[in-house]
Symmetry: C2
Subunit: 244 residues, 2 copies
């Protein structure tokens, strides 16, 4: 049966690829992806056929990848971060039966993990991941999830915290957390993870409410037990004292 | 300044390592970890000094790693999955100031991502990660988080769904989700991800309540929009119709 591999490439640098994803890309005839991610990976796999499509053309991109695989070419579709988390594995799996193509998913390091590593260890214990993009999900659903994550004292990771059309969504999200958590709650942001201009910033929840995030930002909101340790954002492993 | 690297190794096979983690291990003088993870990685890095400690000796293990780094040896501490998510980055960061050792965290692919890839794409949209282990967190806190995740219609990943002492915690967790979700909710489990005996199983929430999980199992509970597509567990990217 013809096969399409959907692979997460991590943050976008070579170091962030898994060995398995690097092998899949190395063995591919054709690599399909969003223009920006293709440009990040091309230098490492220059001898491939690259097919890139712009943002917002996701379904078209999935169909292109499936058609290429259907033609018998060894095809890999790349996603930033993990292939599953806000990635293309889902639409590819939904469309695949139309093409008679088998789908293999190769996981990758999502921004929750790579951003957390830069900040310290904010996600040591239970956490929730919420996208603030209302392109595919109504804002009321997003708000309900933020409310639940805040009420449950989850550490939270916010993906897509800004766009031109949704300038105030991070402010609104922080407002929800401030109903349940102290304004001094330890928060952090990571920008351009693994790419040129990579930077992090630690701030309080009150400061985060005023922060101007952009589409390259991943936001981390601490739980009630998250603290600053020597300039790092650290959530302890549990509530019980464990130091030996 | 002396440096200790805390690296996530992913599921435990070579393919699941990131290129960055493989490089860190390749450059290390000493590798410190839990016995099981050391045994998984030793074949790929046979020429290293390995220091392994049993489970439950985590703080001792962190101190050993920090002492080794303090002696000027290039030291890497390994964690399964990601270094931050239920990993050792947090206690190492907390203890490091006592030793004057700088800590670098290298992220890895956590079981939420690697298990999801085997099942399909259950975590496409917002999700919550909860550990059912009450060793470090009181069960009331865990229950509150499960309640919040269920109420917020998050897809959920449950780590540590069983142990000898806590035989019924998965049943109790499912009971909480069943208050908010249909017994037909699509769920899945992944066992021994990336290791010998790797297996997955799709089941309903009602069936999951009766499932005998063990300590090698990661559990996935679908959101209200998760569905079965050709034998895979798939959560669509959003609530809006996007097929082109």
């Amino acid at each position: 049966m013809k096969k399409l591999t959907v692979a997460g490439i991590g943050a976008g640098n070579y170091e962030g690829l898994t060995v398995g994803a690097a092998r899949a890309l190395g063995e591919a005839d054709v690599i399909v992806g969003y223009t920006v991610y293709c440009d990040l990976m091309k230098p490492y796999f220059p001898d491939k056929i690259w097919i890139s499509t712009p943002m917002m053309k996701e379904i078209e991109r999935c169909r292109l990848a499936l058609e290429t695989a259907e033609e018998g070419k060894n095809t890999v579709m790349i996603c930033s971060g993990d292939a599953g988390i806000y990635g293309m594995a889902s639409p590819v799996l939904e469309l695949a039966p139309e093409y008679g193509v088998e789908v293999a998913v190769v996981p990758g390091v999502t921004a929750a993990s790579s951003g957390a590593a830069l900040l310290g260890s904010p996600l040591t214990a239970d956490f929730a991941v919420v996208s603030l993009s209302d392109l595919l999900t109504p804002w009321e659903v997003i708000e309900k999830r933020l409310e639940a994550a805040a009420a449950g004292d989850f550490a939270a990771v916010l993906y897509n915290p800004a766009s031109k059309k949704r300038a105030d969504c991070l402010r609104r999200a922080c407002g929800i957390f401030l109903k349940h958590r102290s304004p001094e709650t330890v928060c952090g942001v990571a920008r351009c993870i693994g790419r040129d201009g990579e930077e992090t910033k630690l701030l309080t929840l009150a400061e985060l409410e005023e922060y101007a995030a952009d589409m390259f930002t991943t936001v981390f909101i601490g739980s009630s037990s998250t603290k600053l340790v020597d300039g790092r954002m650290v959530t302890p492993r549990g509530y019980r004292h464990e130091h030996a």
